[in-house]
Structure formats: structure tokens, C-alpha cells
Assembly symmetry: C2
Homo-oligomer: 258 residues x 2
């Protein structure tokens, strides 16, 4: 269960906006046993988005896109995803019904552009996939603003508040589909520097191949100089690696464990 | 003049650490006319780093890597870059001299690992490339901790404070090499929503093809609902696009221009 994230937006690549969605996605996924393995940030350009979606959706269990889903000229994600899947963008009847209900008489063609999705896309809510409108039946709007998914690709908004709301739908979907056990993450903080930790680290890394062990120097923090992290899917194994490392530290260390 | 950024680190992809270097790099580059066009975030895994460095260094004027340059088992960037260029990692005599001078009697094999760089790499400082040690001559250390560059690939540290220090060296190098004119970025803030702005936006986008125009909705800000950005290399052209857009807004708008 591995995932990729495609971050779309000139405002991110120019540094005008600090990217703020990746860490939230990673936390949500790890709670359900899914590892975020790759993230790519690209400009609002159709051929680039199309190529990335095609490649990433085939290489990972899940692909998430963030950004480029509004109604203006620079919002080209829906078309990019549609092209990657070889389909057209269509006005989704249930999304259109929701937008009409929200804007009433003010509803313009511009507002309805936000109901354009790749043909075949599903609307996901916290309680499940919205059933498609039956032929001839009226479009029935779900109670909640849904997330758009086509195959294994979730098309999420870039605005951080909106992205986080959709993550609740992603989490509910992963819970329903079973998912895996959550990743376990433990940590050790020490005043020793990285170079001095190498012998102990190498011993523990070699003896615990199932545990991902990281070493991170910290500048300008009086409470510790290096943070060691121990991650994996099996808590017993992760805990054993952390404890083996702690046992190799000199007296007075570590400063703190988590 | 286009650049790519390779962000390396499990701690970023797991969401433990918020990525904090991209925006600083983008600002530095844009001041010297270089656009950051792509960023890829990958785990601390040698084959992935090697493949990315090979691909990105060939496709862009400059490649910057961030992270994975310490002395521990999870620091594999130097080897990854070396493999991408088909060279070995070697102990750089001048870097080794600096590290020995800094750590004195405490200097261990672990500390010296931080002097391992791809063969052929140059050390860059604010005042220029450090001349290589002459055969038989003593290694002469520069006055300043240098940045490591091989061909068009800059190998920068992941710790944000260290990354920003190296950016000053990158900026000095771009200044010396002439670089291009800085990007100009202007903005307009309005209480109108994106859908209502579409006619004006489409007219200005069509009339000003040299200007990159972005539209960004803001949630929960009482002072504006949509921010429009106007970016390009030619200030006159960018200003004309912004002013043309402002002229199309209704009375009472915009709220603010920059």
C-alpha cells in the first residue's frame, strides 16, 4: 500500500505559497498503513499534469492530486487527469445540483465549471460512494461536499482548509476498505552528535532490517543535538530496535525517548 | 534558465518534518531570473536518488538536492549523485582539512565522512570556486564552509539553517555568472469570487500571453476573497496586464494592489 502525491501550482513553485498539504496527507495515510513514497510538484500546465498522473497512477496504489481545481483559466487539473485516463471532462449532474442549490439565482456558468469532472469519476463522501443518478431520474445531491476520485486517483483541492476536509473522506474510505495497521513511530533524543552515534547506529540498523531508522541533527536546540527515529508496521519490532539503541548509549543519555 | 529541486528524506515523506527549503530556493532563483519548474520528493534510497539526479540534471539548467548529506547510514545523497555521474565518492582534501581543523583531536572517521563527495565535485564559496589542491601541496581550507557542486548539480544540506547559508553561495554564483533579470511579481486582492472574475480574467489572459496570471481563492480572510497574481520577466508587460485587469473590475474594487 504505497501512495504518491502530485502537487500542482505555479504559486507553490514560485515560493509565494508555502506547501502545507503533504504532511497532513502523510499522517492520514500512515494511520491506515499506507506509506507516501513520492511527491512531485509541477506547474499549472496540462501536458505535464497529464503525463504525471498517467505515470504515478500506474506505479502506486493511490495517487492524490492537490490544486488546480477551481473555475479559472489556471485550473487545469480536471482536464489533465481526464486526459491521463483517456476520457472527457463532463458536467457531473449531482455536483451541478449541489452547486445550483448553493448559489441559487447567482449560479453562473463559472460556478458550474466546478462541477466538471473526468467522465467515470466517482463522488466519495464519509459514508461511501454517492450512487450515480439513474437514467431519467433527478440528480440527487449528497449531504456533504464530496471528494472526486477516478480509479485510484483522488483529485483534491489545493486550499489547505479544503484539502483537510477532503482528507476526512479519504480516511473514512481507507477505514472501510480495511487498510493496514498504522505505522508505529518512536524516537530518541540525544546530546551526542551524529558522528559519535555511528557505531551504535550501524549495529542497530544491521540487527533490525524491518525498522526504518533515521538520524536528524538539530541546530540551535538546547535540549538535544540529534533525533533518532524508529519506524515500522510492527510495534514490537520497532520498540525492540529503539530499546537496543538506547542500551548502547553512554551514561546520562538519552535526553528523552518517545 | 530553469531549475529543479530534489528533496531527499523519509522524514519529509512521513510528514514528521515540514518541508521548509523549497520556497527559499525559489525566491533566490527568481531574483536571478531562474524559474524553479519541478520539485520531486523521494525517500533516502540510493537507486531512486541516482535515477532522479540523472534525469533532472539532464533536463534542467540547474539541479539542487536538499538532504541526506550527513555521516550516518541514511545519508546516501553523495553516493547517489556520484553514481548518477558515473564517478566514485572520494575524500575531498580541502573539506577534510576543514573538518580536521574544526574537530581537532575529537575528529573521528565519522566526522570525516562529511568530507566525502563525488569525484570531480567543486567547492563553491561566496567569492568563487575553491582552487584544487596542487599535487604534493598541502590541502588549503577556504575561509567559509563551501557548497558542493558537480557539473550543474548543487548538493545542499537538508537542515533549513544550513540550506539557507548555502543559498547565499548559490546567489553569489548566479550573480557572478550574470544570470537573467529578476522575475517581477504583482498582485491584486478582491472581494469578488473566482467565478465572477472569469470574464475579466479570460480577456486579460488572452491579451497578455507573456504574463503568467494566477487566481487564488482565500478562505477565512476578511480582507479579500481572491488574490490575482501577475508574473513575468518584463516589468512593463507585467504591470500592463495587472492594470488592464484592475480597469475591468467594478466600482469599489480592488481592495488592494501590489
Amino acid at each position: 500500500m504505497e501512495a504518491a502525491l502530485l502537487l500542482i501550482g505555479n504559486e507553490l513553485l514560485s515560493g509565494k505559497i508555502q506547501e502545507a498539504n503533504l504532511a497532513h496527507l502523510a499522517h492520514t495515510l500512515r494511520k491506515h498503513g499506507v506509506a507516501l513514497r513520492r511527491s512531485v510538484m509541477v506547474p499549472d500546465e496540462l501536458p505535464i499534469i497529464e503525463a504525471e498522473v498517467r505515470g504515478l497512477s500506474r506505479s502506486y496504489t493511490w495517487l492524490f492530486t492537490s490544486g488546480g481545481v477551481g473555475p479559472t483559466h489556471d485550473d487545469v487539473t480536471m482536464v489533465g487527469v481526464a486526459r491521463a485516463y483517456g476520457v472527457d471532462v463532463i458536467l457531473h449532474p449531482q455536483l451541478a445540483a449541489m452547486i445550483r442549490a448553493r448559489y441559487g439565482d447567482r449560479c453562473s456558468e463559472g460556478h458550474l465549471r466546478m462541477a466538471m469532472v473526468p467522465a467515470g469519476a466517482a463522488l466519495e463522501t464519509s459514508t461511501g460512494t454517492v450512487p450515480p443518478t439513474t437514467a431519467g431520474g433527478a440528480a440527487e445531491a449528497p449531504d456533504e461536499w464530496p471528494a472526486v476520485r477516478i480509479e485510484n486517483t483522488w483529485i483534491l483541492p489545493g486550499v489547505p482548509e479544503a484539502f483537510r476536509m477532503k482528507l476526512e473522506i479519504v480516511a473514512a474510505t481507507l477505514r472501510r476498505s480495511g487498510g493496514g495497521p498504522a505505522f508505529v513511530s518512536l524516537a530518541v533524543y540525544t546530546q551526542l552528535d551524529e558522528a559519535g552515534l555511528i557505531p551504535a547506529l550501524e549495529q542497530v540498523v544491521a540487527a533490525h532490517p524491518q525498522v526504518e531508522i533515521g538520524s536528524y541533527p538539530k541546530w540551535f536546540d538546547p535540549t538535544y543535538r540529534t533525533k533518532l527515529t524508529f519506524d515500522g508496521r510492527d510495534e514490537t519490532v520497532v520498540r525492540a530496535a529503539r530499546d537496543a539503541f538506547v542500551a548502547l548509549l553512554p551514561p546520562g543519555e538519552p535526553q528523552r525517548i518517545e
